[in-house]
Amino acid sequence: MACATFSIRGSDVPAPDDNLLEVENLRVSFGTERGVAKVLDGVNLTIRRGEIMGLVGESGCGKTTLARAILGILPANAQHDTGSIRFRSEDLLKMPRRRVDDQIRGRRITFIPQDPYASFNPLFRIGTQAREVMKWKSPRRPENAGRGLFGFFSRYPRARRRADEADAVEMMRTVQIPRADEAFDKLPHEFSGGQRQRLMIALALMPQPDLVIADEPTTALDVTIQAQVLKLLKRLVKERGVSVLFTTHDLGTAYEICDRITVMYAGQEVEMAPVDDFFQRPSHPYTVRLLESLPKPGRELREIGGEIPRLIDPPAGCRFHPRCAHATDICRMERPATTSVSAAHALRCYHPVGATVPA
């Protein structure tokens, strides 16, 4: 994505009431030895049914934390200070843990990890690990099925297991794993990185989820493989009407696959727009600088001066203000509320940038 010539793509804009996921004013902090890190500072995020929402930001901006918060797997030293995560109109933070563990995580909201190399247990065959997922998360599993003692001694009826396995093999064929019927018996290291990531996609789709959280799924892959995996993922989720939360720090990847993009900076979301709008009419100073920093032939590299703030003692108000050319007093005091640039394009800034990106 070296040349910044963006074309308009036809993308359907679903009805605004059809929100699958609504994160509202989420604040999360971590207790560390050096102090309390305020990692998420009142983040809002919505994802509609069937859409691919990109979550873009540099390392440390909080996108992984947000993803984990939605999944409910934040580490022990994390605290939800305020906010809600509404999924299908229910607040996940208020739901009983048991229900989240059993019905939501891995079933309605699934996960594709960043690192395909280390995300499979190297000592167990793919079949064992896939079967484990299917045992607990297959759509055929009855809702009241027990978990046994810490997960042991729970039944996996043979009929269901056979059907699940058949589905699994079918799904592996769909993700283009060669010799899918033998794949079950192989160990993870017998697959390449790209294949392992495709297996991850398969595992993420088998429970027939509503939302897939893909945490930088192509960052660890070679560039040529990236394109393959992205295309495949996009096709499969669109076919099934599954929503995706796609985190990445790579704008090019975001352009490839996302319907809408939310930009995060230092724990605050700053701009949210449909993908074309985003690339054509970026309004937040940070977004603008981000897009400008993409290398272009014939132009010097442009960088954003300054450094990412530390989260233990972050800047007050809008956290970008120390590096922003347009910052004024109010920026330093209070974080801007959400405003609309246009129908689907939201912004949190007192001094939006009006220009289009020069060609």
Partner: protein, 286 residues
């Protein structure tokens, strides 16, 4: 020097490690000031048949032994023996084992292999067996115990250093130094050694603990310093025939050993936590 102070500060934040450090300090002080701290400094060598096997009382804090000597005072003086044996034995093992480890880890030729084989020989049987054989051969005395212990402990340092040096050799900064033509001895001294220092320090502390245990086992078996030296292991052996009546006789020296070894182990653990960043990271995930 500043890193040493850093280490100390971090160490003191860990209550267990701080406790260990305190115990060891106590041991050293007791060993040095035994004559001042003992209630009966002159009596530890005497025979007082009328006072033998008395239970703990105001006068005799831990009671008296079969000779009538005050056990408390004997334990304090025994601390000297313990300190001397442990520090000299481990020190010698270090001085022998580390250089051998450095050489065998660095050289790729037959010398390295041969040295490892030799150290394997000494590790082929448990330390205590060999130590018993050696000290029995040479006769019971403190010097022989020290000799036996250092001769059987050096391979632990060698193994440790060998493994570290081998893995360090593959590090890019070492390859760079070699490529730049830095002489081998300089590389080893200035680049390799500081990196190996941490595991060595940890091993030293833990080694002190193990050595004290083995030394007291030798004393228990009659192979340590001969009587009337107040060696803790021997005191326990002496107490055997007077059990169960003279329970204090066995309890006190054993508690002393326990406390001291505990101190070194706690310190060693604390040092390992502070000096080895990989393990420390385990708490702060994002």
């Amino acid at each position: 020097m500043s890193t040493a102070i850093d280490v100390l500060r971090k160490l003191l934040r860990d209550p267990a490690a701080a406790a260990g450090l305190l115990i060891i300090l106590l041991l050293v002080l007791v060993a040095i000031f035994a004559p001042l701290l003992a209630t009966h400094p002159e009596a530890i060598w005497d025979m007082n048949p009328r006072q033998r096997l008395l239970p703990p009382s105001d006068m005799y804090v831990f009671g008296t032994d079969r000779m009538g000597a005050d056990i408390y005072s004997r334990i304090l003086f025994g601390a000297r023996i313990t300190m001397v044996i442990a520090s000299v034995a481990v020190g010698a093992a270090l001085l022998i084992g580390v250089p051998i480890g450095l050489i065998s880890g660095w050289t790729q030729n037959w010398l390295g292999e041969a040295l490892m084989r030799v150290s394997d020989i000494f590790l082929a049987v448990p330390q205590i067996v060999l130590a018993i054989a050696i000290s029995q051969t040479l006769g019971p005395s403190i010097e022989n115990v020290i000799l036996a212990l250092s001769v059987t402990y050096w391979p632990w340092f060698t193994r440790l250093v060998h493994a570290e040096v081998r893995s360090l050799k593959n590090e890019t900064f070492i390859e760079a130094a070699i490529a730049l033509g830095v002489p081998t001895w300089r590389i080893i001294l200035l680049h390799v050694l500081p990196n190996v220092a941490s595991p060595i320090i940890v091993r030293t502390s833990i080694g002190m603990g193990f050595t004290i245990l083995t030394a007291s086992a030798l004393g228990f078996l009659g192979l340590g310093a001969p009587p009337p030296a107040p060696e803790w292991g021997r005191m326990i052996a002496e107490s055997r025939e007077f059990l169960p009546q003279a329970w204090w006789y066995a309890l006190a020296p054993g508690l002393a050993i326990f406390l001291v070894v505990m101190g070194f182990n706690l310190l060693g653990d604390g040092l390992r936590d502070v000096l080895d960043p990989r393990i420390r990271r385990a708490g702060a995930r994002r």
